[in-house]
Symmetry: D2
Subunit: 138 residues, 4 copies
């Protein structure tokens, strides 16, 4: 695995499918988020620290759905950091089942301070920026 | 509507279904919870007050699934309070599509204090008990 | 309501929220789909006819998340058809809680023939195109 | 691992949590189903064969929730077959995080013929009964 991306492995669960017999598109975007959080764990971080002060809500999302996924299929989400500023991170994702591209997408998360309400944009802690650096695309 | 139950109306959404072409059973239990929260609103309450101190996690659940529900079908959840103590409430639910019973079940929620962690059993506020009284089965 | 859009009303359910205390972003995209299907019903159609031959999977999705939604809040999804070809429909959505814009997005669904597998692009039935016409933006 | 149970490992995902900061109870029942399907795979089976003729809907469910689960925690679902007849299988589940029991439950699935509609109870194929036998509790 090149240092500049994280590969997350997953199997389709029954409850991820819909009456069309394929994975519901809302699950594709959840798989993207699961991969992001796995990348953070890979970097020695958690996206939801116990102090509960800072949070990383999504501010933008864009996905192209290329092929259907089915029950019990195994797939990979390749995720890398496409860009990173002091207050936001944009990830680029490719979901693959073997050689088949299932979906490609980007997702931007911003850093917010939750406490006290309301949520307010804040700076990403420097240690987080440092640890995520290896997953940034060259 | 008799005072001793609440009737919650709902339509099946596409994402509630699975590859078998029917509503996934995890949605049946979510419909039961949605009806409980609607009963609370009917009683002039919210199950999640803004102060965030008290919470009502489920401690027991039992369901019999009788017939399938399909996309876009309209149904009702009839919910009443089967029993109520100082620390817990047991609801009894019947989910119907017209004359057809889709599922019957019971669900028990306990009152807990969330703050400071960890969660600890606590007494249901007297005002809540009073307001829920009309939905108690005779 | 102008003929060129459909307004779908909804309340946030408990299970739509996440540990950050707000609606999880995957629910925002599900709300967009719920509104699309309500628009079809408004047009006298169902997006999933009983014969099960044709289906409308999503091929593209783009969302900007502007403000958080919370438990029990009521909101509206305004949806209109931004463009429509023989094989695909692009919807434009705005999710509002009162005057506050929660999210804006677009979603493209293609018409596919499911039977026999695999899914294959096909033409949208002319009657469907006719009935959706009033929701097309001017 | 004793032959008479299957152990399924899982991590809590962000979208599994709710505003109370813990896993939503509907996810506990989904974890139970995920473990059942993993047990079938362990037995060399799939619960949803490609021919799509037979299906295994849930007919009963009972759960006691003992302790909360949190984001990113790893847990195990221990599942075994408590009883098995010609037409139905009852599983017994224990969900554990380390030594802590999170929930215990039972779930009964029946065998139905989906095609032609409506769903009708049918006999479980003998090969399926044979392969599941090792997971039956003594």
């Amino acid at each position: 695995m090149p240092l500049s991306e994280y590969r997350y492995q997953r199997r389709v669960q029954f409850a991820d499918t819909d009456l069309a017999g394929v994975v519901h598109f809302s699950w594709i975007v959840k798989y993207m988020e699961e991969a992001e959080h796995a990348l953070w764990r890979g970097a020695g971080l958690t996206i939801s620290p116990a102090d509960g002060v800072v949070s990383y809500p999504r501010v933008a999302l864009s996905v192209d759905f290329k092929a259907p996924l089915h029950f019990e299929e195994e797939f990979e989400v390749h995720v890398r950091i496409a860009s990173m500023s002091r207050r936001a991170i944009t990830y680029a994702h490719t979901i693959r089942r073997g050689e088949t591209v299932i979906a490609t997408g980007t997702m931007t998360a911003a850093c917010v301070r939750k406490v006290p309400p309301p949520m307010k944009s804040t700076e990403i802690p420097p240690e987080v920026l440092d640890r995520l650096q290896p997953y940034r695309e060259p």
